[in-house]
C-alpha cells in the first residue's frame, strides 16, 4: 500500500504539472493531427490496402511518441528537479510512475488520433476489439521502453537526436508487429487466428516493464 501511494504521488505530481502546462499533450496532438491531415489530403482515398493504412497510422503514432515521451525526464533535468526526485523517491517508484504517465499520454493520443484516422480514410474497422487490444499492448511496451530511454538521454546534450537513434532499434519489433496486427484487424476476415501477434506485443510489454525496472536504478542513480 505504501509503495502504491508513493507511485501515485509521482503520477499525481506529473498530472498536475501536465494539466497546467499541457506541453507534452498539446505537442503530440498537434503533431498527430497535422500529419494526419497532410497524409489524408495527399493520399486521399488512394490507400486501400489495410496493411498500408495500418503502417500510416503507426508511423504517426510512433513519431508522436518520439516527440512527447522523452519529456518525462527531460523536463525534470531542464527544470533542475531531477536531484529532488533522486533524493525523494526510490528508482522503481519513479520508473513505474513515469511509465504510467507516458502510457496515459499515449492512450489519450491514440484514442483521439485513431478514430480521426478512420474517419479521414473512410475506414470502418471490422474488428475494433482486436485493434484496441493491439493498440493497448503496443502502448504499454512503447511506454515502458521510452521511459527507460528518456531517463538515459535526459542527461545528454544532443538528447533531441539521441532519443530517436536509441529508440529506433529497440522499438522496431513492436512497431512492425503492431502494424501487422492492426492490418489484420482492418481485414474483413477474423484476425483472431493471428493472436500470436498479440502474445508477442504482451510479451514485449512485460519484458519492457521488467527490464526497465531492473535497469532503471543504474540510470537514475548515476
Amino acid at each position: 500500500m505504501n509503495y502504491v501511494s508513493k507511485v501515485l504521488a509521482v503520477i499525481d505530481k506529473d498530472v498536475r504539472s501536465e494539466y497546467r502546462s499541457k506541453y507534452a499533450l498539446n505537442s503530440a496532438l498537434l503533431f498527430c493531427v497535422t500529419s494526419l491531415v497532410v497524409v489524408s489530403f495527399s493520399l486521399g482515398g488512394s490507400v486501400t490496402d489495410p496493411r498500408l493504412q495500418a503502417a500510416l497510422l503507426w508511423i504517426i503514432l510512433f513519431f508522436s511518441s518520439m516527440m512527447s515521451l522523452p519529456r518525462a525526464f527531460v523536463k525534470e533535468q531542464d527544470c533542475g528537479t531531477m536531484n529532488t526526485l533522486r533524493l525523494t523517491c526510490e528508482p522503481s517508484q519513479v520508473f513505474i510512475g513515469k511509465m504510467i504517465i507516458n502510457l496515459l499520454l499515449l492512450s489519450v493520443v491514440t484514442a483521439i488520433v485513431s478514430p480521426l484516422f478512420f474517419i479521414l480514410f473512410n475506414i470502418s474497422p471490422p474488428h475494433p476489439g482486436f485493434f484496441i487490444i493491439t493498440a493497448a499492448s503496443a502502448a504499454v511496451g512503447l511506454s515502458a521502453v521510452c521511459t527507460l530511454l528518456s531517463a538515459i538521454v535526459a542527461q545528454a546534450r544532443a538528447r533531441g537526436t539521441l532519443f530517436p537513434v536509441l529508440a529506433f532499434p529497440v522499438l522496431m519489433p513492436v512497431f512492425m508487429v503492431a502494424v501487422e496486427a492492426t492490418g489484420k484487424s482492418l481485414l474483413p476476415q477474423s484476425p483472431w487466428a493471428n493472436s500470436q501477434l498479440l502474445v508477442f506485443l504482451a510479451c514485449y510489454a512485460v519484458v519492457g516493464i521488467v527490464g526497465g525496472s531492473l535497469l532503471f536504478e543504474f540510470v537514475f542513480n548515476e
Binding site: S5, S17, N83, L87, Q93
Partner: protein, 216 residues
C-alpha cells in the same frame, strides 16, 4: 522521522572532471550532533563534495558511507534521512508551495508532522503564499521554500549549500534560528563562503582550488 543516522564517513574522496582535479583525498567523519562547514573560494569543490556526500555525484575515488542503527550503506539508501538544500536543486514551479510539500510527504511516505511544516512556513513568512505556484514566487521566497522542503521531513543529515543566498535579513535570521535549534540532533554540513553561515558550524573543512598539476 526515518531511523536516525549515526554517522557519515567520507573516505579519501577524490573527484576529477576530465583533466580538472576538484577534490583530492578528502577524509572526515561526521557524527550526529556534529556540524561541519565546507569553506573555500569559488571552484574549490564545496558544492561538488556536498553532492557526493548526498549521493548525487559519484566520486572518482574514495567512498561515502552512512551508518544508521548498525547498518552501513551508500547515501541514497538512506535518502529519507537526508535533507538537502542547494541553489541547483529545484522544486516544481508548476505546483503550488502546498502541493510541493504534499508531493514530498507522499513520495517519502513518512509520518507527516503538519504542525512542524506550518511552523517552518511561518518562520519564513511563507504561510500566506502557500497556494501560490512556486514559479510565481521571488528568488528569495524560493530559497526559503527550498530550505523548508529540506527540513520538513525532519532529516537526520542536513546538507546545505549556501542556504541563505538571496534571502532577506528576516529569512537569514529565521534560517539561523531553525538550524541552531536542530543541529544538536542532526549531522549538519554547510558549504558556504558566508561568515555568518560558517558560524553555524563547530568545525570547518577548508578546501582549496586544485589544478591538473596540483595546488595552485
Amino acid at each position: 522521522m526515518a531511523s536516525c543516522l549515526e554517522s557519515i564517513k567520507v573516505e579519501s574522496v577524490t573527484k576529477r572532471f576530465g583533466p580538472n582535479q576538484v577534490l583530492d583525498g578528502i577524509t572526515f567523519d561526521a557524527s550526529a550532533g556534529e556540524s561541519y562547514c565546507l569553506w573555500g573560494p569559488n571552484g574549490s569543490g564545496k558544492s561538488t563534495l556536498l553532492k557526493i556526500i548526498a549521493g548525487l555525484l559519484r566520486p572518482s575515488k574514495g567512498k561515502i558511507s552512512y551508518c544508521a542503527s548498525g547498518k552501513t550503506g551508500a547515501p541514497l539508501t538512506f535518502r529519507n534521512n537526508i535533507g538537502m538544500s542547494a541553489p541547483d536543486i529545484m522544486m516544481y514551479e508548476d505546483l503550488s508551495l502546498a502541493e510541493n510539500l504534499d508531493f514530498l510527504a507522499k513520495a517519502r511516505a513518512l509520518p507527516r508532522d503538519a504542525r512542524f511544516e506550518d511552523e517552518l512556513m511561518d518562520k519564513f513568512s511563507l504561510s500566506g503564499v502557500k497556494g501560490r505556484q512556486l514559479g510565481a514566487c521571488s528568488s528569495g521566497m524560493k530559497r526559503k521554500f527550498h530550505l523548508v522542503c529540506a527540513l520538513a521531513h525532519k532529516p537526520s543529515a542536513l546538507l546545505l549549500d549556501e542556504p541563505t543566498s538571496y534571502m532577506d535579513d528576516a529569512g537569514r535570521a529565521g534560517a539561523e534560528e531553525i538550524v541552531s535549534s536542530l543541529k544538536k540532533d542532526v549531522i549538519l554540513i554547510v558549504a558556504t563562503n558566508d561568515h555568518a553561515e560558517k558560524a553555524w558550524c563547530e568545525a570547518a573543512i577548508e578546501l582549496r582550488i586544485k589544478s591538473a598539476g596540483g595546488n595552485r
